[in-house]
Amino acid sequence: MRSRLIASVLGFIIISLSVSGCATKPTRLEISTKPVDKPELVLPKADIVRMRNITWVVITKENYQEQFDKLSKTGRPIAIFGLTDKGYADLSLNLSDIRAYIQQQQSIIAAYERYYKEADAKLNSAVTVDDKTKK
């Protein structure tokens, strides 16, 4: 009679422990975010370009003597660095290509600037929203 009673009590205790759960307590989650401001990039402005004056002289079979006389009056040595019409056109087109290249580079820099300014503004507003959400 006594041993049955003890067995019942022990059995009840074991069942109670099983029901209440021997599992470990759930762990507390810790979520933390901390935005860090990146330092501002300060760069110097590019130098201003000052183009030198260039004077072209067109020399033909008819006018070369006249041009040479004009040139000798300037006191410069008589030496002509010549270009044909094709050479002149190619030089002009090369300069035009360089000008287009500079413009394209400026467009790229402007696009980067616009993108990062807009992205920074968006990220800042997102961080503000996140902070509000946390609170």
């Binding site: 009673l5 009590v9 009840f12 205790i13 109670s16 422990l17 209440s20 307590k25 759930p26 762990t27 507390r28 989650l29 979520i31 975010t33 590019a46 130098d47 201003i48 370009v49 183009m51 030198r52 004056n53 260039i54 004077t55 072209w56 002289v57 067109v58 020399i59 033909t60 079979k61 008819e62 006018n63 044909t84 019409d85 094709k86 002149y88 056109a89 002009s92 087109l93 300069l95 035009s96 290509d97 000008r99 287009a100 500079i102 413009q103 394209q104 400026q106 467009s107 790229i108 696009a111 980067y112 993108y115 992205a119 968006k122 990220l123 997102a126 929203v129 996140d130 959400t133 946390k134």
Partner: protein
């Protein structure tokens, strides 16, 4: 015998009471942690949603900049083609042979204007004449498209 049974019953009741109290406290603690975790997960989900929205918006911005830059490149290429078309239309050699002084004057003027385009692109200050230019052609015939960016702006 009756007293013994009462004692055992009292012990059982005491143990049961203790177990009940412990179970209650443990459940409450567990509930509090789970509620807190739920709230934190809610916040995390909201933050993730916000991050996704921001990223989507950033991708849209990147695509906008790409489209805008491609458009600008097309315009620049078209401007660059103007001189090539101009040179193709005229026989420079023949014209220069026939009228050397005229061509000399034209190419010297064009060279000075082209040089000025480089200065303007590099950020040079506008001259009074450039500031008061009424249209693109009178601004600089070698880079008339800069008129809109520099004068009309």
């Amino acid at each position: 015998m009756g007293l013994k049974l009462a004692g055992i019953m009292a012990i059982i009741m005491f143990v049961m009471g203790g177990l009940g109290y412990w179970y209650y406290k443990d459940s409450q603690e567990r509930l509090a942690i789970l509620t807190e975790n739920n709230a934190k997960l809610d916040t995390a989900v909201k933050m993730n949603e916000e991050t996704i929205t921001t990223m989507q918006s950033t991708i849209r911005q990147a695509n906008n900049q790409l489209r805008q830059t491609n458009d600008e490149f097309s315009r620049i290429r078209a401007h660059n083609q103007v001189l090539a078309d101009k040179l193709e239309k005229i026989d420079l050699g023949m014209t220069a042979a026939a009228r050397p002084e005229t061509i000399e004057r034209i190419i010297n003027s064009a060279t000075a204007k082209a040089g000025r385009c480089f200065e303007l692109l590099a950020g040079a200050q506008l001259t009074k004449i450039e500031k008061e230019a009424k249209d693109e052609k009178s601004f600089n015939s070698e880079c008339p498209w800069l008129y809109n960016n520099l004068v009309k702006r």
